[in-house]
């Protein structure tokens, strides 16, 4: 197990009280696994990604721990985390355009970044060029400002940048959402190649687009309102999921081949609960067609089959 997250609970502190954004999450990622993390906006998927690398106020660690390669990751300690950031854990943030300094040439920025981690830029340059080749960028980009690149190019540049020091864990937050289908495909395939070549050991891909995850992820973790709903290998999630939320989420996806006149898709009625004072028990209860009395009690996230974890009282029946 490369990454082991145990009972991680993170709240946002606000004037009105704590927002329960992440509640008792426990899961593991194996070496070389690409795990997709999916859910509606506001379900806590970005919070989970952020808290593994940069747990900053108003986020507050309530309890729980994280181990990476059998070593404890001090996520609650800003200072000590600095030894791990970029070297062991790295992130590709949501908007690549905001991730790069607009006033510096890209090559210069890479050098600055490596210097801040006491790594010699010159010695890494051949490796950097090799990786630029892999993502089909010319070396000229190192002499350009971020504004001169297109969205897809920036995204690829940030990918190379984030994995420069071969981290154990790479968090890719919505890296394909702002891209066109053709660059979306290229970027996701490059991510798989990065894993195959060992540039990063395991990857968490955060996205709301399950059809992209189906292409690249080994396993998918579905979150709902700050809690884990289901984790299983990709094919199992897509074809034989057990949690009602997963089932509904997958049935709402329009596909090429489905037309309004032939088959009308149904949305999920209602909206996710407010996390300021979350309801007790299963948080999907209000919208769930299968809910019954027992759902007032929080269902545990248990393994019903091999590698298939579900948090639902009705699962497996």
């Amino acid at each position: 197990m490369s990454l082991q997250v145990k009972d991680l609970t993170v709240y946002y502190q606000t004037l009105k009280g704590d927002v329960h954004a992440l509640e008792s999450t426990t899961f593991g990622i194996a070496d070389g696994e690409i795990m997709g993390l999916a859910g509606e906006s506001g379900c806590g998927k970005t919070t989970l990604g952020q808290s593994l690398i940069f747990l900053h106020p108003p986020m507050k660690l309530i309890k729980g721990g994280v181990t990476l390669d059998n070593k404890e990751l001090p996520i609650g300690d800003m200072e000590r985390m600095n030894n791990f950031r970029f070297k062991k854990v790295s992130i590709i943030p949501q908007y690549a355009m905001n991730a790069m300094n607009p006033t510096r040439k890209i090559g210069k920025m890479v050098a600055d970044l490596l210097k801040s981690r006491n790594v010699d830029f010159k010695s890494l340059l051949p490796e950097l060029k090799r990786r630029l080749d892999l993502v089909k960028l010319s070396y000229d980009v190192l002499n350009m400002y971020p504004i001169e690149l297109s969205g897809g190019m920036k995204q690829r540049m940030v990918m190379v940048l984030s994995t420069m020091l071969n981290p154990s864990l790479l968090i890719a937050d919505e890296i394909t959402s702002a891209l066109d289908v053709s660059s979306q495909k290229a970027v996701s395939e490059m991510l798989v190649q990065f894993r195959d070549r060992g540039y990063c050991k395991s990857v968490i891909v955060i996205t709301h687009d399950i059809s992209v995850l189906y292409q690249i992820a080994d396993t998918i973790l579905i979150m709902y309102a700050g809690q884990l709903a289901e984790k299983a290998p990709t094919d199992v999630i897509v074809h034989s999921s057990q949690h009602p939320y997963t089932k509904m989420l997958i049935s709402t996806l329009p596909e090429v081949g489905v037309r309004y006149v032939d088959k009308q898709l149904a949305g999920i009625p209602g909206g996710p609960p407010l996390l300021l004072k979350p309801p007790v028990g299963c948080r999907f209860r209000e919208r769930c067609p299968l809910a019954f009395e027992k759902c007032l009690e929080k269902p545990p996230f248990v393994e019903t089959e091999k590698d298939h974890f579900v948090a639902c009282w009705k699962a497996g029946t």
């Binding site: 059809s211 596909e255 309004y260 999920i268 909206g271």
Partner: protein, 320 residues
Amino acid sequence: MLTLDGVSKVYRVGTFGGKSLVAVNDVSFDVGDSEVVSLIGESGSGKTTIGKMILHLTSISSGAIRFNGVDVSRLNGRARKEYYRHVQGVFQDPFSSYNPIFKADRIFRTIREEFFPKIDSHEWNEKIDSSMRAVGLNPDEVLNKFPHQLSGGQLQRFLIARALLLDVQFLVADEIISMLDASTRVGVLNLLAELKSRGLSILFITHDLSLGYYISQKSVILYRGCVVEMGPTEQVYHHPLHPYTKMLMACVPRLGMKWECGEIEVTNPNVKQPDLPSGCAYYDRCPVAGNKRDCSTSPSLVEVEPGHFVACWRQTKQES
């Protein structure tokens, strides 16, 4: 209902506007009565510019837009206002379409002041009520709220309700569900389909091919401001003829079907703007491009099947 006839948009760019950039190049298509046409293209292909030109938010460089046979591309003053009674738009980001300081229903008040100054309050409230119900909102729940108190899907429905207050016949829907979650986007999509069955024509601008397939009867594929292929949705999706459309179809992530592992090939569209304005726009990315001479003149749209047009020299060659 709405016809675009050789519409072009040229922007002046560079210092002192010395260079010109053709954002939309000689685009012609039409949208029939109660028809949904989806306009598909990647970012920078000019799809939003076309929507803006229809809505008069930006001027037209050449060509004409006809609405029910009348040229509306150069309307002014009163006539333009009258045009807005029939043609309205809804845009991508519901959160930035509102002023966060005011309550969300202020958008209704501006409509009343501008278009219905003489209506009495009772009648007006009934009108709001019926158009809110038409978009599936419960007026008691959503009126008198600030934008941040409503969800993205609700705000987007609000904007559609605003358009319905007017006697709207044509709606430009510019990426209206790209920002919404999977669970709410289907609701808005079904709403559009329902409005269509009541006689509304919709231009559905999107980059998501599966959404376009779900809702539209006709698809128009744009590439760098040129229409490369258009026709009935089923034909375009199942028998794409233009190499660009074929590439797009192969890239769509689908459940239950993995991408075929091929070479990663990204020739970035933004790297080289073609120097010469003539020639096939897709030339430098095209896998089947012939020699320079053939593809250096722009291919024109040719009807290969009834209603199915494609702009590629390869197609016309095979036909002849």
